[in-house]
Amino acid sequence: MTQAAILVLEDGTVFRGTALGAAGTTVGEVVFNTAITGYQEILSDPSYARQIVTLTYPHIGNTGVTTVDAESRATFAAGLVIRDLPLLVSNWRSQMDLDTYLRNQEMVAIADIDTRALTRLIREKGAQSGCISTGSGLDVEDALAQARAFGGLQGLDLAKEVSTAEPYEWREGVWELESNSHPSPPANEFKVVAYDFGLKHNISRLLVERGCKLEIVPAQTPADVVLAREPDGVFLSNGPGDPEPCSYAIESIAQILENRTPMFGICLGHQLLALACGAKTTKMKFGHHGANHPVKDLASGAVLITSQNHGFAVDEESLPANVEATHRSLFDGTLQGIRLRDRAAFGFQGHPEASPGPHDIQNLFDEFIAAMRAEQETA
């Protein structure tokens, strides 16, 4: 029997639907993502910590869930909002259905609401704090109070919360259709240390695939600990929340830059790199959340379709003289990529690792490899 559920936004809007996943109440910043495929990857992306994700495509769950596609050790989104959970899963790779997965992951979710109306509301008003409550005795007032009590993401350092507690090595390469697995290629050419601010597995896989011996370290690992490992390159991962409070990371990055170690940052990692260079970040109205965002490579003029998921952005105006813009969004002109003129360091705001989304900009990983190779050769 279906259970009722409500989603209440801080502005008082109430959506009534049916409950999905775990029973209970959850709060977070309500955002939307317009990607049609890749719900499992989205739910298991640590960048969604404290966010309730609305997926705009109406049927979510068609292909079930497989451990193969997980982007981290668990789900991180605070909740899920969808229009329709299909009656049946149909895909040869599926191991369980979405509802079961949500229950296992203790994620509260709501279905059967007008997700398009919700998306339009967020578009007009900006990201909203919200509360999903399921089960009997739904209390709108209480849910509203909880939504309002959630203060939003600004000023929240979530990276350290989602990061790994201990350093570890990663050996898996990218997914392969024939075996439906991630074979491990030999990895010995470059020693790379990746800061885990909310790292997605596919980033690790793409690095390993390119011959990196990869060690993943916690967000708060000091620079000297990283540099003591004598890495060929340092990677700065994606992650949730506001970059500004992550002063420890900004400090470490600044030190690593001093050491001239090649560095590549994605999303939060890109923002932290910018902050370490002295630039500023700002909170966007409702951010970029989709798998169809065109980005222009300013050097080549090429248009690349990218996966995007960020609510904060680097202010291009604030870039210091030694940092140049490399990519810009063709949607709103916001800064999408930076490169240091005097160091082998660069960052990208979107998600070149895709998963979900197009692979158009995976060449950035090759550039990172090239930067390390160039550094080795000069050294």
């Binding site: 895909n91 065109p294 090429a302």
Partner: protein, 1071 residues
């Protein structure tokens, strides 16, 4: 970089007539391309032989040629217009093949014309099966194992390597013409021979079968800087084995994980790069093994296609418009996405937040001899698309939009115990497989059983199973159970009022009243290409049952135009042309125009044709809901053909203001008894006729009227089961065998007017004045459906007095019927007598042809009349009779239906039409034949075999052919008649007279022209193989003496010259 400045003029080739596999979608894309390039400042030159297109309206291109699309003719146009570039990707396979021919014959090089959009090499690589395969190998993509052969022996050898079933695909043919799936040797031989014949290069690909694999299509756009975007991924509900044009398809893809989807995405882009499609849109088709995700590439089209039109409508991304701009040098980031009013660039990939379902429309009932099983050769004639928030909703909306009389998953199995039929229909798909699937669930089949037989993905099956079980509950619980919550949940699933009403055994009206009383009405969501991420300015909408409505109707005075729904035989692009004109007329007259239609191929469903577009089924429920929210001043439903016309009475009853001619007048014209009285009152003649309810009454009345008679059952529309009988014996047989005449099923007897000339007239009336658009004389005699008959404007065998009398009669009838808008009448002229055959106070199939011929858009003027502007106020007083001759010729799908007799009769069978314009009738007719792909021979051997009454005429034709240098061959009786008049000829045996006979000669390619008229069943059966082999061998043939005469007059004219439509129009307007 902005647009290229080194080219100034661009030639666009259209797709020609509507045929199976090539329909309105190329008018949609071609019109977009012309408008886009013109607005960029280029001089656009257009060639298209199809007059029923918007693109051939004189204002769309700078120089328009309604001429046959053959390389020779286009070469002449090139010589005259000297275009700098040729864009060959907007006119389907026809345009691509023509461009390749122009290139091959050195025309492009000679006149320095650059191919833009797709290079010769790219087209070749994509279309040549072997080269395509090699290209796929080169980029590591698998294709089904296949072997290219150019003779049957080699095909047989290939087959033994690949096993059964085997797929046969001819190279360079449209819509898979000539291809098929063979399950045994006999089928294999049949299909191979047909395929070798159909391929212009006599090549077929014998291919490993991937039957039952999932089928996907990717619509890709690429610019000259190698930026690639995917517009839409389409998943076919019907798995591999059914041509994608005949498959139910769904967008976006439903059953792929992101990992698999990205493989498809990367592969499609890799295909475009490898094939070398520099700019523009392409379509790539894949098959995926549902058990392990194994992927193979099936084919790609380096041009806009039916699928790209569907993708454009499904996402709101105008592929053709963007492709045209990319072809002249723009890059994706330099172009805006129009639908968001420039808020987003054209370089993004659309994301959608709804489900789109396309359902094909078939007309096998018109071709009872055709094989009605779906294979790799396309057989559908139209399609309907529907948008819903869920698959179930969009599927149910699409089904009720098909215009097949269903309002959902209506039961189809006649006998519930007939499992053999059910199982056969499940495993070997026909036109209605989806409804048999529903029936299977009704009979308790499990999902697994249905899957085993159909290989339709379980994800789709479960949705249908759920609908069936909901239906069952409604049926059991009855009308009373439909409280607000229950009814809302059913409407959210997409159930129509009509279906729910029939399940509860109440009237649709009752159900609607109940629903409205409960306050349950749909909301309208916008198609915005970005899943609401950005605000949109465009009002392109669909209905659904959700909380928020985005339609935001304005306070303006509005007019709703009801479109024509899916194409089918008898209802095609002509009506869409009229609807578009009506919408433009409404805008011109200061109204907000609102279009409702569900045919994704059309120009009318382009979101910038009308102020607002509702992409909805044309059912009473869906139309009433739009009326409810928009509150228009009135509705125009006389332009969309039968589909909207059927709603007239019900809409009127529901209080909707019908603009123009009243539904009662429309009814009067269609009601046999009322119309008979109307003619009597107006002292007009009609062929003597009676309605009879028994064999005895038939015999009695037949004597009274006199033979020959046209006989038909009164309850069947569209000329089905209609026959001509010459004596009481034939009549008795017809009454007893062909139809079971009774009190409930009366039969209509009409005097058949022998040797009468049939005439079509189109006119416009504002209620006071009647403006005659044109009088068209049919080439075929009365008895051939007017839609299938060629016709000429102005008439060339009618005296001025007769023409004046025709004018008087139609004026009288238009006034008598109170026509405001378009009216079409058909007359038969026998000697000096004029008989009225029928009057239709609404848009006719000939309206666009007449408009092109006389330089005035009749539907535009008519629509303005309907909106209250008189002809005088519009400044339209008189239409001059053109100095040149225009001929309309019908185009038939016989080549797609092997075995179907191409003999013309009272039942319409053509899918499209072409127009030929010439200084004389002969020149115009000759062009129309070339345009219809009937190449008239310039010499060789003509075969003549005619029925007795045609023999005198045959002698004249034979003599003329002889003078033109033809050798003559005739069957016994005809040969004797010719010889008696001193016309020399050889004699050949009829098929029943032993061998060698005439069919042997046709097969030996000894015959170049066939003139064959017959009557009586035996003779028709005898000559059947003659006509079908003529089609297979592509020998020019005529089945009426009138057409034979026309052919002879065309043969007398050598060639013809190309004429610019704008210039012809200037001349006529100056008259």
């Amino acid at each position: 970089m902005p647009r290229r400045t080194d080219i100034e003029s661009i030639l666009i080739i259209g797709a020609g007539p509507i045929v199976i596999g090539q329909a309105c979608e190329f008018d949609y894309s071609g019109t977009q391309a012309c408008v886009a390039l013109k607005s960029e400042g280029y001089r656009v030159i257009l060639v298209n032989s199809n007059p029923a297109t918007i693109m051939t309206d004189p204002g769309v291109a700078d120089a328009t040629y309604i001429e046959p699309i053959t390389w020779e003719v286009v070469a002449e146009i090139i010589e005259r217009e000297k275009p700098d570039a040729l864009l060959p990707t907007m006119g389907g396979q026809t345009a691509l093949n023509c461009a390749l021919d122009l290139d091959r014959h050195g025309v492009l090089e000679k006149f320095g014309v650059e191919l833009i959009g797709a290079s010769q090499a790219a087209i070749d690589k994509a279309e040549d099966r072997q080269k395509f395969r090699e290209a796929m190998d080169a980029i590591g993509l698998k294709s089904p194992k296949s072997i290219l052969v150019n003779n049957f022996a080699a095909a047989l050898e290939a087959q033994t390597q690949l096993g059964f079933p085997t797929i046969i695909r001819p190279s360079f043919t449209l819509g898979g013409t000539g291809g098929g799936i063979a399950f045994n040797k006999q089928e294999f031989e049949e299909i191979c021979k047909r395929g070798l014949d159909a391929s212009p290069t006599s090549e077929i690909l014998v291919e490993q079968s991937v039957l039952g694999w999932k089928e996907y299509e990717m619509e890709v756009v690429r610019d000259r800087k190698d930026n690639c975007i995917i517009i839409c991924a389409i998943e076919n509900l019907d798995p591999m084995g059914v041509h994608t044009g005949d498959s139910i398809t769904v967008a976006p893809a439903q059953t792929l994980t992101d990992k698999e989807y990205q493989i498809l995405r990367n592969a499609s882009i890799a295909v475009l790069r490898e094939i070398g499609v520099d700019t523009g849109g392409s379509n790539v088709q894949f098959a995926i093994n549902p058990d392990n995700g194994e992927l193979v590439v099936i084919e790609m089209n380096p041009r806009v296609s039916r699928s790209s039109a569907l993708a454009s409508k499904a996402t709101g991304f105008p592929i053709a418009k963007v492709a045209a701009r990319l072809a002249v040098g723009y890059t994706l980031d330099e172009l805006d996405n129009d639908i968001t009013g420039g808020a987003t660039p054209a370089s993004f990939e659309p994301s959608i937040d709804y489900v789109v379902t396309k359902v094909p429309r078939f007309t096998f009932e018109k071709f009872p001899q055709a094989d009605d099983r779906l294979t790799t050769q396309m057989k559908s004639v139209g399609e309907v698309m529907a948008i819903g928030r869920t698959f179930q909703e969009s599927m149910l909306k699409a089904l009720r939009g098909t215009e097949t009389g269903i309002c959902g998953f209506d039961e189809i199995l006649e006998d519930r115990n007939d499992r053999d039929t059910l199982n056969r229909e499940l495993s070997s798909a026909g036109a209605h497989r989806i409804r048999y699937v529903a029936d299977a669930f009704r009979l308790g089949y499990s999902r697994d059983e249905v899957f085993e037989r159909t290989h339709i993905d379980p994800w789709f099956l479960v949705a249908i199973e759920d609908i069936v079980s909901e239906e069952q509950r409604v049926r059991e619980q009855g009308f009373e159970s439909l409280d607000a919550e229950r009814l809302r949940s059913l409407k959210r699933k997409g159930f129509s009022d009509a279906r729910l009403a029939s399940l509860c055994a109440v009237s649709e009206e009752q159900l609607r009243e109940h629903r409205w009383a409960l306050g349950i009405t749909p909301v309208y969501k916008r198609v915005d290409s970005c899943a609401a991420e950005f605000d949109v300015t465009t009002a392109y909408m669909y209905s659904t049952y959700e909380s928020e409505c985005e339609s935001l109707p304005t306070d303006a005075a509005k007019v709703i135009v009801l479109g024509g729904g899916p194409n089918r035989i008898g209802q095609g692009i002509e009506f869409d042309y009229c609807c578009v004109q009506a919408s433009m007329a409404a805008r011109d007259a200061g109204f907000e125009s609102i279009m409702i239609n569900c045919n994704p191929e059309t120009v009318s469903t382009d979101y910038d044709i009308s102020d607002r577009l509702y992409f909805e089924p044309l059912s009473l429920e869906d139309v009433l809901e739009v009326v409810r929210i928009e509150q228009p001043k009135g509705v125009i439903l006389q332009f969309g053909g039968q589909t909207p016309l059927k709603l007239a009475r019900a809409l009127e009853k529901a209080g909707v203001n019908i603009l123009g001619t009243s539904p009662d007048s429309i009814d009067l014209a269609e009601d046999r008894e009322r119309f008979k009285q109307f003619l009597i009152d107006n002292e007009l003649k009609q062929p003597a006729n009676e309605t009879v309810r028994s064999s005895e009454a038939a015999k009695e009345n037949a004597e009274k009227i006199g033979y020959p008679l046209v006989v038909r059952p009164s309850y069947v529309l569209g000329g089905r089961a209609m026959e001509i009988v010459y004596n009481s014996r034939q009549l008795a047989r017809y009454m007893d065998e062909a139809v079971a005449v009774s009190e409930e099923s009366p039969v209509l007897l009409d005097k058949f007017l022998n040797h009468a000339i049939e005439v079509d007239v189109d006119a416009v009336s504002d209620g006071e004045q009647v403006l005659i658009g044109g009088i068209m004389e049919h080439i075929e005699e009365a008895g051939v459906h007017s839609g299938d008959s060629a016709c000429a404007l102005p008439p060339h065998n009618l005296s001025a007095a007769i023409q004046d009398e025709i004018r008087r009669q139609i004026t009288l009838m238009a006034k008598g019927l109170g026509v405001v808008g378009l009216v079409n009448a058909q007359f038969a002229i026998q000697g000096n007598e004029i008989f009225v055959l029928e009057v239709n106070p609404r848009a006719s199939r000939t309206a666009p042809f007449v408009s092109k011929a006389v330089a005035l858009s009749l539907p535009f003027v008519a629509a303005q009349c309907m909106l209250g502007r008189t002809l005088a106020e519009q400044g339209v007083r008189h239409i001059a009779t053109p100095q040149y001759c225009s001929v309309k010729e019908a185009v038939f799908p016989f080549a797609k239906f092997p075995g179907v007799d191409p003999l013309l009769g009272p039942e319409m069978k053509s899918t499209g039409e072409v127009m030929g314009i010439g200084a004389t009738f002969g020149e115009a007719f000759g062009k129309s034949q070339r345009a219809a792909n009937m190449t008239l021979p310039t010499g060789g051997c003509a075969f003549i075999s005619v029925r007795d009454e045609d023999k005198p005429e045959a002698v004249k034709v034979g003599r003329r052919l002889s003078e033109l240098g033809f050798d003559l061959t005739a069957t016994g009786g005809t040969a004797r008649a010719l010889a008696a008049e001193g016309v020399e000829c050889r004699t050949v045996k009829k098929v029943l007279e032993g061998r060698p006979h005439i069919v042997d000669m046709i097969k030996n390619e000894e015959i170049d022209l066939i003139i064959n008229t017959t009557e009586g069943e035996t003779a028709i059966a005898d000559s059947y193989t003659l006509r079908t082999s003529a089609i297979q061998r592509r020998v020019a043939y005529t089945t009426t003496m009138a057409a034979a005469n026309a052919v002879v007059s065309a043969l007398g004219e050598k060639g013809g010259k190309v004429r610019k439509l704008q210039q012809l129009h200037e001349e006529i307007l100056a008259q």
